[in-house]
Subunit: 356 residues, 2 copies
């Protein structure tokens, strides 16, 4: 039976970068891979078409799919919508609805792009870290939340941060197993000196760690982690943390790679069904101009084959093809240095397909 992929291009550059990812899928299908795909709406595009950022049609298709490939959602067109139908709610909705609790964000420094980085070459050369962010708990979904009058009668806004033992256990298992396949070092990031949520987090991570004696576990406060990521990122192998700290640290770490245009991500459920997306946004400023960098989306296709379809061979081929086009000097605007020839989205996609 064919593996079913649901494609959600999303907003602004989303459709442009996804078109290049589809070229990769087409090539693999032509080679005989048993895959098929269909398209759906998420975010602003879904609001435009069906009045909701995560409409029932998308929900149904997402449940039936084996994997989901997403472009990027959001943008100025939707900024003034009521919060409940803003594009972000589409992302948060699909994550929660499908139970995509494990967000894998590799940060890899491509030698060829060292010039594009704010960091000194020696700081990032050879960098290869994996940030594992819990994606369906924490302050993102905690109840109660809202507005109320505080003890002094003043209006206040409030949210609830929380993690339960099973939530921490399952992300911890993913983290230790990921570390086992890599350099066997796991750093758990929390704010245990201040937060009750973090105290439970740390307790449970330590407990789960007893089942993985081959992995060296360490703990770091989130403020220190934000500093160490910049000071000496190569000290890390796998980092595991909660939803909000992971949001912040993984975006920070993306800069170690030179450009956010290079970084894919995977969000997995308990069965390794996953949603794959570039970590960059919908880039309204360059939308419709054929300028966007499709590599993070193409690398997301690679992650899909690696994690959901268990085809490390194809993932490795895609990763290698991307490295090859970089070595060939192909550069979209975001990764080009002054004086380098800049190519467009399509040309970059074609180059990867050729390299494949």
């Amino acid at each position: 039976m064919n593996k079913k992929i649901l494609i959600l291009p999303g907003d602004y550059i989303g459709t442009e970068i996804m078109a290049e990812a589809v070229k990769v899928l087409e090539l693999l299908k032509a080679e005989g891979e048993k895959i098929e795909w269909s398209f759906g709406h998420l975010g602003g595009a879904a609001y435009d078409a069906e009045g909701h950022p995560y409409p029932p049609s998308t929900q149904k298709a997402a449940c039936e799919a084996d994997a989901i490939l997403m472009g990027a959602v959001g943008g100025p067109k939707y900024d003034s919508l009521p919060r409940a139908v803003r594009p972000e709610q589409g992302i948060l909705g699909i994550r929660k609805d499908l139970g995509l609790f494990a967000n894998l964000r590799p940060a890899l420094a491509y030698e060829e792009l060292a010039a594009a980085s704010s960091f000194k070459p020696e700081v990032i050369a050879g960098l290869d870290i994996l940030i594992l962010r819990e994606l369906t708990g924490d302050i993102y979904f905690g109840q109660p939340r809202g507005r109320r009058s505080n003890a002094e009668g003043a209006e206040e806004g409030y949210d609830t941060m929380h993690y339960s033992r099973p939530e921490v256990e399952r992300i911890a298992h993913v983290a230790f197993q990921a570390a086992q396949k890599r350099n066997k070092r796991l750093c758990s990031v929390d704010k245990e000196n201040v937060l009750e949520t973090s105290r439970l987090w740390r307790e449970v991570v330590i407990e789960v760690g007893k089942q993985y004696p081959d992995v060296a576990l360490s703990h770091m406060y989130v403020d220190n982690a934000a500093m160490q990521l910049v000071k000496n990122p190569k000290q890390f192998d796998v980092i595991v943390t909660g939803n909000i700290f992971g949001d912040i640290l993984s975006d920070e770490a993306s800069m170690l790679a030179g450009s956010i245009g290079m970084l894919p991500s995977a969000s997995l459920d308990v069965n390794n069904k996953g949603l794959y997306e570039p970590i960059h946004g919908s880039a309204p400023d360059i939308a419709g101009q054929g300028k966007a960098n499709p590599l993070a989306t193409i690398l997301s296709v690679g992650m899909m084959f690696r994690y959901t379809f268990n085809r490390a061979d194809l993932a490795d081929r895609i990763d290698a093809a991307v490295k090859q086009v970089l070595r060939q000097g192909k550069r979209t605007g975001d990764i080009a240095q002054p004086g380098e020839r800049i190519i467009g989205t399509k040309e970059m996609g074609d180059a990867v397909v050729a390299a494949l």
Copy 2:
């Protein structure tokens, strides 16, 4: 009448770096400045002496003082104490007790130390940003917090994030006024696309901003801010944010300065009474060896004269003296390059006093 300074050296290197700051105070007093000081305990030292990290004696002295100078607290000796008496509770206690809601953390890149930074020189050359962190609200002090059984009967840890209108108003005023004295640009950092607390935060900041039409106000999500600080830090002038986001971003930003050993901070109440401290920790690994960098503590003395005593002239002199010793090539271990001669804590303190 003499201005009263309470000195809280704290733990590990705290006493060593404070001894150098006192030399600066002694010089200024000898010059005729009307200041006097006394010593007290905070953190682990206070626990050792009086059984509590913020004991009544310190509380009384802190209330009576015009300003407080702190070294650094915490360390392995105290890590296994019950949470209620851990050194961090001393810091959190004094902040909350004295209403020190406005935490000013300048991040300045010293030209002389560019070699010590992970960043390319062009990224940080001339960098001068101010991070303003709200320090007495947010998830640090929110109630309820603790452990409970969730709807599924699983144990969970939880905390409450919250900000009230007056809390946001007062930090916003400090931020706009700081921006007015600088380059008139203020960036407010929140997570308004997800958090109710941030929605209120953003609303209030916009409202307060109407009273400061000369300041250009912008807003940024915290994940993006973590990225932009690394990508292009010079885009910022003043950043204002809540307690937990500020904790993370200011530590990240400290690395832009090359070493955390160079950065002072001020925590002010509504009357500009303040607690001044280096942002680095108590460095147990090098404690007692006379190696620690006292410059951040000495620069904290400068901030005290600037913000609480309204003596920008003395603050400028101290800042200039620190720059001069750097130009003279004086380096403690944390800011030295391979091959450079390393001096000790005392020698560095003496060099600043000589430069003064």
